[in-house]
């Protein structure tokens, strides 16, 4: 039992709450926001896991995931712009 398990447990709780918002989010924008937060929580978890296992390879995964996150979020935002019906059309 390492002391690093404490922040990892807190991050697991945060991840669970985020998944609840993804499941219940009324609009697509809420789900995209929640997915972004889930990703950040995952990055922090990977970093702490790397420190707990004393291995650098997990941190490489975190770097690549952080690079890919922007593409994912930009794609989701484009999807959001197309998918949601507009309530007020611009004149």
């Amino acid at each position: 039992m390492s002391p690093i398990d404490l922040p990892l447990g807190i991050l697991a709780a945060a991840f669970a709450l985020t998944l609840m918002r993804i499941a219940t989010g009324p609009s697509l924008a809420d789900r995209v926001t929640a997915a972004e937060l889930a990703f950040v929580v995952l990055l922090a978890g990977i970093g702490l896991l790397a420190a707990r296992l004393h291995s650098t390879h997990a941190l490489t995964v975190a770097v690549i995931a952080a690079l890919l996150q922007f593409i994912a979020t930009a794609a989701l935002a484009a999807l959001l712009l197309r998918a949601e019906p507009r309530e007020h059309e611009l004149p």
């Binding site: 922040p7 918002r21 970093g47 650098t56 989701l76 611009l90």
Partner: protein
């Protein structure tokens, strides 16, 4: 050293938890977006500082710093993208002050014609309309 690093990492994890609770408890998309972007950036900052303290090798510290730098570059941009998409989808919720709508109304009705025009966002017809004016 382990305890200092664990303390900092726990602080970061708690900030992430605060972001998650805010995401679950706030009432509209733009407020959720606001709490998420700020608290998660700060949470990852503290988590990665904690990782760097717990694992003080040059390799690990550089990778943690790179992750943090990418995320701090990306989070404001993606927050802006999602916020704009949510606004355009009409998910303004309990927004009290809507300066963008005011500026759009000014620009469209040919009010002051100055500052509002640059804020507009629309199809190409709108742009040609502006040209004709």
């Amino acid at each position: 050293m382990t305890w200092i690093g664990t303390g900092i990492a726990t602080l970061g994890a708690l900030l992430c938890l605060v972001a998650a609770i805010g995401l679950l408890r706030l009432h509209d998309a733009l407020s959720r977006l606001a709490v998420t972007t700020k608290a998660s950036t700060l949470g990852l900052l503290f988590s990665m500082i904690g990782v760097a303290v717990l694992f003080p090798e040059i390799d690990a510290v550089v990778k943690a710093a790179a992750t943090l730098a990418f995320l701090m570059l990306v989070t404001p941009i993606s927050g802006h993208l999602i916020g704009r998409a949510a606004y355009r989808a009409g998910l303004t919720g309990t927004l009290r002050v809507d300066e963008l709508a005011e500026a759009e109304a000014r620009a469209h009705h040919g009010g002051d014609g100055g500052t509002g025009t640059a804020l507009r966002y629309g199809s190409e017809d709108d742009v040609t309309d502006d040209m004709e004016d």
